[in-house]
Symmetry: C2
Subunit: 641 residues, 2 copies
């Protein structure tokens, strides 16, 4: 049998299969990206496809209405092939790339935050110096009087400019040395690295091609962001981001670890990040900066422990299995050529070190970026993503922990949830009396809403709570035209009726959604609370709160405190620092001192494993209320009714 995937914005893909094959699995085999945050267990309802012709056998789902079913909509994870068929796949890849409100330096405000971070690192004494050089060389042409062979001639010319004993010429330079020298009439540029008494050539080009570049990459579970930088000046040459192509293997790290452990899985997950995600972005950045990929002489990566393992292609199973010891914390020795990244094959790939199974290089790089290690102030650093990671400390000590927040912040586990792309409700204010919502939508100002993203959910729940529409358990306690109940009595709040929405489907938030979200925010707050308890401290001792992460840029701090997600400290203590993993990675690609500092931070940071920590579960249960069972922790949270 044959299944044809019609992909919005791309060429169709056909695959041969057998009756009974699972449609989502088939899509994975055919390299067709279908959004499946729950990795195919039917719970998230995101893997919707539309049957255009032919037959699929499927079980009913609460995520598909009878009208939608009639129109051919199915959850691909629920479908078995019953005959030749053609299905329409919503184009998630370009949706990611449309206008994600991730911290990808797309707004001037974010660029300013990014640059301020780097300036502060310099003030903290981090020298922005690296060993990479671009040398312009002019040599005499060989003659019967000057019979030096090409490689010795090159070595001599380099030694005239640099005080080095040894010049290493690797294969990738040697194989084009003779032809480049002659084509360029012995006036060339050599790019490479000076380490002590040795200069290592990495590239030879014409003399006019002078740029040497670095590439700083943040690999998030959901989103990948990177900047291409000039290694000499530090200038940002280009920037870009896209969804992590591994998303079709599951939204969270656990599902991806399970997938990579299947036969061929490690290769598939590695291909999804390297070939499908990073390679096209880097190629784009090089094109827009007008440089050759061979001029990228160093890369740095900020990523969580699992992402690091999948990126490197190392078995990630030990990350999730007791005794939770990853294959590596810190590892030097990776080259771009090992992973076939589009960069100089000899370019070192610096991986910001992991410190535990669930506190990875994104957090050590992020901690570097916060500068909290250089201050007497007690700082809390929270990276909000699919996983929430917390660091607390100052120049004298640092503690860290991680919790699984689940996909709620990215709109997963929420019936009308979506990522922060065009049409997402990103902010909301309710009229206390009429309960009429005022919505802010991502994208075109005339855009009708499509769904709700993470920052919108925080606002909506905070506003429903403030206006007394829901109680501390998240149950509806007021009635009104926008409060509806289904046949089982489950309440929901309608943000947009079918005629008000872009898709013609009602956009609402129900008690199950609210409960899911409360558990996500409860995980975050209880992690913070447990970490503070572990060092015998409490919220009042916090001098500063750094909030980072993909969700961060749209987040309303006051509302986040109001629902008991962030600790109740003065609002001026909060500082949004954008994509701190990318900021740290940038510092590391530019600066050897930053690499050294980050390694040192990782060595000095204590990791608290919450899953085995006594008290965490109690704290979690207590945090699963609005704002908390212990209202004294949130004196500023209030219901205005």
């Amino acid at each position: 049998m044959k299944v044809t995937f019609q992909i919005q914005g791309s060429a169709p893909v056909e695959i041969e299969c057998n009756a009974g094959d699972n449609l989502l699995e088939l899509a994975r085999r055919a390299n067709v990206a279908i959004d499946a945050p729950c990795s195919g267990n039917g719970s998230c309802g995101k893997c919707r496809v539309q049957l255009l012709s032919g037959e699929l056998e499927s079980v009913p789902s609460r995520h598909i209405t009878p009208e939608e079913y009639e129109a051919g909509w199915r959850l691909s994870c629920n479908c078995k092939v019953a005959g030749d068929c053609t299905v329409l796949v919503p184009d998630i890849a370009s949706a990611y790339q449309s206008r994600m409100k991730t911290a990808d330096l797309s707004s001037p405000e974010e660029v300013a935050i990014f640059q301020e971070t780097q300036e502060q690192l310099k003030e903290s004494g981090i020298a922005f110096a690296n060993p990479f050089l671009s040398l312009e060389l002019t040599m005499a042409e060989p003659s019967l009087e000057d019979t030096m062979p090409d490689n010795e001639r090159l070595t001599r010319a380099i030694r005239e400019q640099l005080e080095v004993e040894t010049v290493e010429i690797p294969y990738c330079v040697m194989e084009k040395l003779a032809s480049t020298l002659r084509r360029e009439r012995f006036h060339v540029r050599v790019k490479g690295e000076k380490q002590g008494n040795t200069f290592r050539c990495m590239e030879i080009t014409g003399a006019q091609d002078s740029v040497i570049a670095g590439c700083a990459i943040d690999i998030g579970t959901t989103t990948v962001t990177m900047v291409l930088v000039d290694l000499t000046s530090g200038k940002i040459l280009a920037k870009g981001s896209s969804g992590n192509g591994q998303i079709r293997y599951g939204a969270d790290v656990i599902n991806r670890i399970i997938q990579q452990a299947k036969p061929g899985g490690r290769k598939s997950l590695q291909d999804a990040i390297i070939k499908e995600t990073l390679t096209p972005i880097i190629a784009n950045l090089c094109r827009s900066a007008g440089i050759s990929a061979r001029s990228i002489l160093r890369l740095s990566v900020g990523a969580n422990t699992t992402m690091n393992h999948l990126f490197v292609g190392v078995d990630a199973e030990p990350v999730r299995m007791e005794p939770y010891i990853p294959s590596f914390f810190s590892w030097e020795g990776l080259k771009a050529g090992d992973l076939k990244l589009p960069a100089n094959p000899l370019a070192p790939v610096i991986i910001a070190p992991n410190i535990g199974s669930y506190v990875g290089g994104d957090i050590t790089a992020g901690t570097l970026a916060t500068g909290l290690w250089d201050s007497d102030e007690m700082s809390l650093f929270i990276d909000l993503g699919t996983n929430g990671e917390i660091v607390f400390g100052n120049r004298d000590f640092m503690m860290s922990c991680a919790c699984s927040a689940g996909p709620a912040f990215e709109g997963g586990d929420i019936s009308c949830g979506m990522r922060a792309t065009d049409g997402a409700i990103e902010a909301c204010v309710l009229d206390k009396d009429t309960m009429e919502p005022t919505l802010t939508i991502v994208g075109d100002p005339e855009q009708k809403p499509v769904g709700i993203c993470g920052s919108g959910i925080i606002d909506i729940i905070s506003e429903l709570f403030r206006c007394g529409v829901i109680n501390a358990k998240g149950l509806f306690v007021r009635e009104g035209s926008r409060v509806r109940r289904d046949e089982h009595g489950m309440g929901r709040f309608v943000l947009a009726a079918p005629e008000e929405s872009e898709t013609g489907r009602e956009i609402s938030i129900n008690e199950v959604d609210i409960d899911n979200f409360i558990r996500a925010k409860g995980a975050i707050f209880s992690a913070i609370h447990t970490l503070l308890e572990a060092v015998d401290m409490d919220s009042s001792m916090i001098d500063r709160v750094y909030v980072a992460g993909g969700i961060g840029s749209g987040i309303n701090m006051k509302n986040s405190v109001n629902i008991g997600m962030l600790p109740d400290v003065e609002l001026e203590k909060f500082r949004y620092i954008g994509n701190s993993s990318l900021s740290g990675a940038y510092a590391m690609v530019m600066s050897d001192a930053a690499v050294e500092k980050c390694t040192q931070l990782a060595t000095n940071m204590t990791y608290l494993e919450l899953s085995t920590h006594p008290g965490y579960m109690d704290n979690f249960v207590a945090a699963c209320f609005l704002p908390h069972t212990d209202a004294r922790l949130f004196p500023n949270s209030r219901q205005e009714v």
Copy 2:
């Protein structure tokens, strides 16, 4: 149009083409090996194919008789495609592999010579020691009490056995570290290199897989020979040889340099040696030794300057163009992975250094093997191949030069010439009175002759001269039943009448053949003579003559002196040393001291460029007689009539 090549012993190969395409070029495009020593200019007559069906447009050739033409035989370089056709291609690859009498350690005598050479190197103070180690490691499994990640655990275990500060774990080990440790229950073997305070891991396997191997390779213009050795014990694990797959691009280095300069040529020539020639031999040797290619931790190559350039894939054009300065003499930094050789990707590939455009690493490696650098005796070292290279000197000085002997020693440029495979006449004695020849044939004792190989030609010419059948100019001066003349009066000597030969074709040697050969031997002797003159010496001062090379093993020293090819010194001064390039490469793969010594030899050896040297041309002209125009140089050469 379509051409089908039927290849003896292989599957047929089809290729689409246009009318008028040259058949030899098509064969090259289709990767079909056709022997073409003259690279397709119609002069050698070796690229014979048989038209089985269809049409080919061809011009007559002196190399094809009317009867043969009738039977479909054509020179492929002379044919244009005129329609769909099928041609039969004689299987030269397996002919090479059948029973070449090259110095490939196939006889016990050659193995003895090889081992004696190594023993003498040890006596000369070359320590046979290398930095490669195979470590058996047993580690504790990770637990909640011992939470070290895999890479640090491995480092700790290595440090328990070796006093090193740094353990480098490269990607090829890292990517399988987690899975290997767990599959082998933390009882593994690590293979790698200890340099000073650093141990570089290169491979991780199960504990039982203990062998670490090296591979020593002689890349000749015509033949490739190699041995797989145990890096710990020095034992030869396997050995093999085959024809150099580049042969279809021309028999000599000049034709191959011209070919590699064409678009895509460098890649084709490199593929021909690496993918088509070396890869299958190494894979075979690994199979027969029962080791994995990843266990090959170092390779060494003895090859002439052009072969070295083509092997590395570096433009060889500078080798043949004034000012004759190759792209490199000596180059460190090549890894097996750069060339995708079937070996550990990190294995260093040691290239014995070149010292000039026409004195390459085969000669520096060979000089190392002779041991002449450790003696007071004045030694002459002659490597007889497609090029002849000469070294003269002792522990105080060394001079070298090279001459182009052409393909005559391998049977090229000789009408009934062939390589030393089954059926070749390799030795000959004439009855002075009857002129009846007694032939020695390669292969089965009952084998009828097929053609004449290099050592056979030396014997035949020497015997014809001794018996007064030919004069000093190589012209026939006696008549007899075996001496025939064609319609132009050109004499020839019939060694086998059609009914006495395997192919039904007469096997003879004619005045053109003899003239070609005299020019080849003249080139060798005049090179020796010029080199001696350049240091103000003569033959009488030679204490020893080392003869090496592919032709070497069948060579009759007395006859070689008799025709004026080798200098007239006492026969006991001659020593046949087999494949000295391979002997030197073996020493280098086993011993860092040998690598150092070879580099030092190359630095200290003076290169005499004969093509621009005054006097060489006169010496060459004078040497184009039997034995020489100056008979005083050959007091022991005589005609017995």
